[in-house]
């Protein structure tokens, strides 16, 4: 699937566009980690919780659960939410 990467993570991907494979959000993030080591921990903590200022949208719908199924042909958008000044 296509993945839109927020600017805060471009240091890992080199740009806003990336690709990831996986049937769920967890699998897609694991694939991103394989391609871009270190990127997952910046978004997901060691207890497998989505970090406070990170949001995931699959085909326009926010995803709250790492086990959520994703459309392999769809688009995953990662958003850096407001975090203060």
């Amino acid at each position: 699937m296509k993945v839109l990467i927020p600017s805060a993570l471009h240091s890992y991907t080199g740009g806003a566009r990336a690709e990831a494979d996986g049937a769920t959000l967890a699998e897609a993030l694991a694939d991103l980690e394989r391609r871009y080591p270190g990127i997952r921990f910046r978004m997901i903590d060691e207890q497998n919780r989505i970090r406070r200022h990170i949001r995931f949208f699959a085909d326009g719908t926010q995803v709250f659960d790492l086990g959520q199924a994703l459309d392999p042909a769809g688009e995953l958008i990662i958003v850096q939410a407001l975090s203060g000044g």
Binding site: P6, A8, F41, R42, M43, D45, E46, Q47, R51, Q80
Partner: protein
Amino acid sequence: MAEHTVLLVATRKGAWLFHADPERRHWRVDGPHFLGHSVHHLVLDPRDGRTLLAAARTGHLGPTLFRSTDLGHSWQEAARPPAFAPAPAGQQGRAVDHTFWLTPGHASEPGVWYAGTSPQGLFRSEDGGDTWAPASTINDDPQYRAWMGSAQDGTPDGPKLHSIIVDPRDPAHLYIAMSGGGVHESTDRGHSFRPLVGGMQVVDGFDPTDITFHDPHCLRLCPSNPDRLYQQNHCGIYRIDRPSDTWQRIGRAMPAEVGDIGFPMVVHPHDADCAWVFPMDGTDVWPRTSPGGKPAVYGTRDAGASWQRLNQGLPAEQAWWTVKRQAMTADSHDPLGLYFGTSSGELWISRDEGRQWECLARHLPEIYALETARLPAA
């Protein structure tokens, strides 16, 4: 280049390296590194003189560590930053919000580093800071977890484990401090700890025998006498001379109108009777600014029996700074250089052990931490 001092500046918006000429008159500025990252600590490995570790996070992303083996010309992210062990099923586990404190290991253990985190956790690396693992049973021990309290019991940006000190005589002998959660000592490389809070006071009305109420702000060991430690606490300035297990409140000798509340504590590398503090206003609502808007360092040359006000060159009025617990340090020159960084982004230097102060830089972001290092001739 001749041997020179470098000042490592960690701020809320990035890191800088200030390289001094031999007289410490002129400084070459290198930075910003990691612009926009909150850098809580930037430390040079004294064992090799070139490896830097930076504890960083950004507003949006989780915490990480960056490493440089060429004095900051290039950086690599740690392959496995400090992280708590996954919680057993059905239990609420903790996650590292940020690494707050970095301490190189003992001289006999090259590559070993310790990290203290928010919330309170102790982590260890044995490969120069590339991979980290939980270092202590205290991270998950129910008694220690109770003493650590919740996020509501800690400092405004989270409870912290800090002041990790390795005894220069014994790599297995460690001290740590927690805000909140007291001072603790280990004799097994940090695997286990026991409290060391005798004589330390807590806020009026609370029970000093309950470790959770203790809030040490900064703990320092004297390199010239490793049995002596000084401490700036939420409730006073203290000294302990081991093997005694009782802290003495040496801050009682401070002027009453200034008090003995503050964040940082600095010790002389060669004279264990010399130490410095930066008092702040800890009255009523705790403004945490210089008392009366008149900033001053206070120094002792008799192990806390008396204190001298050291404010020559500092603003005489209307300066409402805070100097955080990691933001004051010394170099190794003779006479000793002292440095502090302010919450308003100013860097100050004294080349004569605090007698005269000079502003080294303005307009930096809020300064979180300062460290100095002596770099060998290139």
